[in-house]
C-alpha cells in the first residue's frame, strides 16, 4: 500500500481549508480508494468547479482541471468523450453542484457518461462567507438567512436518482473507511456514479447554528437523529431551532445501482463494441 501522501503535491501546502473542516478527511478517503484500485495517476483526471471542495484538486498529483463555478460536469464530459481511457472524477460542492451547476449535473447523470461525481455537502457556501445553499435545511441560519432559512432544501441523492444516475450513494465524512469503500465501488461502476458526502463547515454553519466545532459537527452529522423543523412564525419565517439544521432522515449507503448503456457521444462504433 502506497503512502497516500505520495499522491499530494506537497509544494502546494498549506491548503486553504479551515480548522475542523472535514474536506481533508474526504480527500484522504478518496486517495485511499485510488490506491486500492491501483489507478494509473497519469490517466486520472480530476475536474472541479469553484468553492472549498473544488480547491481539493489543486493538491493532488493527477491531471487536474479547476474550472468555473458549477460547470465541472460539462468540462468532464468533453474530457471523457475525447479521451475515454481517462478515469474522470468531478469534485463539487452543494452550491457548485446543485445551484449554479444543477443543470450540468442532472444532464451528465441523464446521459450516463462514465464519470464519478463526489459532491461534498456542507449545507452552506463556505468560501464566500456562509451564505445559504440549496442544501441548507429549513430553519438553519446562514449569513443570507439571518432569521432562519425559509426555503426547502434539495435531497441531492433523490435528485440524482430522478435524473437517471446509474449509481447513487451517500456517505458521512465521519466514517472514512466506509467512504473509501463506497468511493472505490463508485469509481468501479460503469456509468455515471454520484456520491454525496455529508461534510461539515464549522467555521460558518457550525458557528451560525451553535453546532460546535469540527468534531462536534461530525458527531452531530453522524447521529442524524435530531432534525425537527421549527414551527412557522407569524411572519412566515421558520423559527430558528438549532437542532432543526440536521439532515434528518437522510439515508446513507449505496442507494441505487443500475446497469445501463454508457454514453460515448456521437461517434463511430467499432463492430465489436456494438
Amino acid at each position: 500500500m502506497t503512502d497516500v501522501k505520495s499522491y499530494l503535491r506537497d509544494w502546494t501546502m498549506p491548503h486553504v481549508l479551515c480548522p475542523g473542516c472535514a474536506h481533508g478527511i474526504v480527500l484522504r478517503a478518496f486517495l485511499e480508494a485510488v490506491d486500492q484500485l491501483q489507478l494509473d495517476r497519469d490517466k486520472l483526471a480530476m475536474v472541479a468547479g469553484i468553492g472549498c471542495s473544488s480547491r481539493l484538486v489543486g493538491y493532488v498529483d493527477f491531471c487536474t482541471l479547476h474550472g468555473t463555478h458549477g460547470r465541472a460536469p460539462a468540462f468532464a464530459t468533453g474530457l471523457k468523450l475525447a479521451r475515454p481511457e481517462l478515469n474522470v472524477v468531478v469534485v463539487t460542492g452543494d452550491g457548485d453542484g446543485l445551484a449554479i451547476g444543477g443543470n450540468h449535473l442532472i444532464h451528465a447523470a441523464r446521459r450516463n457518461i462514465d464519470i464519478t461525481v463526489l459532491l461534498l455537502n456542507n449545507a452552506i457556501y463556505g468560501m464566500t462567507g456562509g451564505q445559504a445553499a440549496p442544501t441548507t435545511p429549513e430553519g438553519a441560519v446562514a449569513s443570507t438567512t439571518p432569521a432562519g432559512n425559509t426555503e426547502p432544501s434539495f435531497d441531492a441523492c433523490k435528485l440524482l436518482i430522478g435524473a437517471g444516475a446509474s449509481y447513487v450513494a451517500r456517505v458521512l465524512a465521519a466514517t472514512p473507511i466506509e467512504m473509501t469503500k463506497v468511493m472505490a465501488d463508485g469509481m468501479s461502476h460503469r456509468g455515471f456514479s454520484f456520491i454525496e458526502v455529508l461534510s461539515d463547515c464549522p467555521e460558518y454553519y457550525g458557528r451560525y447554528n451553535n453546532v460546535g466545532g469540527g468534531a462536534e459537527m461530525l458527531t452531530w452529522l453522524a447521529r442524524r437523529d435530531a432534525g425537527v423543523a421549527g414551527p412557522l412564525s407569524s411572519k412566515g419565517f421558520v423559527k430558528h431551532v438549532p437542532s432543526s439544521a440536521t439532515p434528518a432522515g437522510m439515508m446513507t449507503g449505496v442507494l441505487k445501482r443500475e446497469a445501463r448503456p454508457v454514453f460515448a457521444g456521437v461517434r463511430r462504433i467499432e463492430p465489436d463494441e456494438s
Binding site: D61, C63, L65, T77, G78, R83, L86
Partner: protein, 378 residues
Amino acid sequence: MSETRLVQGNEACALGALAAGCRFYGGYPITPSSEIAEHMVRLLPGVDGVFVQMEDEIASLAAVIGASLAGSKAMTATSGPGFSLMQEHIGFATMAEVPCVVVDVMRGGPSTGLPTSPSQGDVMQARWGTHGDHPAIVLAPSSVGEVFDLTIRAFNLAERFRTPVIIIYDEIIGHTRESVVLSESVEVESRLSPNGDPAAFWPKLAPGDGVPPLPAFGDGYRFHVTGLTHDERGFPTTDSAEAGALITRIHRKVEVHREEISEVETFMLDDAEIAIFAYGIVGRSAREAVQRARSAGVKAGLIRPVTLWPFPYSSVAEVASQVDTLIVSEMNLGQLIGEVERAAAGRAEIVGHLRADGEPITPTELLDVVMSSGGSRP
C-alpha cells in the same frame, strides 16, 4: 487536389473545421448557426471524431475546453444569445490558455432579437464580452469560400497561440450557398507539445514568444489548469508580480504577433479619394458599390478587415491619411466606427452608414452614400 462544390456558409464552416483537424464538436441548437452542428454530427464519426449536444451554450464551450485539454482540436458554434452565455468560458480558455474555436453566426439583437435576420451587432462583444483584461482574436469572413478558409485559419491560430479564436459572420453568409474551392491540401498547425521530463514540466512556463507548450491530459504530464490567476507552474497565486507577469504575457503573445494574425483586404485603394471601411457581408456590398462608383468616374476604394481583432489600426491610419472621406458601414448602430475614428485621428472625414433593422446593407445604398459624401465631385 481540390474540389469545387456548391455549399452553404454554415456547411463550409463544418468542412473547414474538419480540414483543420477538428475532432470534437460540442454545441447547443440556435438559429442561424444550427446547420454547423447538423453537418458536424454527420462528418465527425467518419474521421474518428466525437459530437455531443450539450444542455446549453455554457456547457458546450466547457465540453470543448475539456476535449481540447484531452488533446482534440475542438469547436462550438452559436448565435448572439448563446454567444453571451459563452463569454464565461471564452474568458476561462483565455486565462487557462486552452486552444478552441468559437463561431458566432450573428443575428439581430439585443436579447432574442431577430433570430433569422442578419446583423453585425456582436463585434464588440467578441472583443470585450468576457470580464477582465484579455486579448482577442476575431476573424470575419465575407463569403462562403472565406468561411472555409478562415475556419482553418482559426484553428491554426488557436493552436499556435493557445487561445480561443472567434469566427464571426452574419446570417446571410451562414445561409448563402456559393461555389467553393475545397482544398484538400491545407496547411494545418498543431499546438506545441513538451518533450522534456514530465516531472520538470510546468504548463505556464513560456519560451521567448510567450506561448507555452501544452500536453494532453493522459500523456504522462500531470499538471494543473485553473482560471484563477496563477504562476508559471500553473498554481494559484495572489502575488502581484506573478499576476502582472501572467496578464502581460497573455496579452503580449497576441500583440507581438499582430502582423502575423492581422489580415486586411484592400480593393482599388491606390488612387482612391474616398474609401469604404466594411467587413463581413457588408464588405461584399461595398466592393460592388466601389466598382459602380469607379464606373461613374469616382475614385473610390475599399478597406475590409478580415481580422477584426486585433484591430488593424495602422492599416486604417494609412488609408485615412490618403483619402478625404472614409465611410464606415456596418450592420449595427456603430461599433467598429469608434475604432476607425481612433485610428484615423482626424486625418479623414468619417461618415457612418449604419443600420440595425435586420435588413442587409445593399450596394445601391452604399453607392448613394459615396455619391453624397463628396464622391460626386468631378
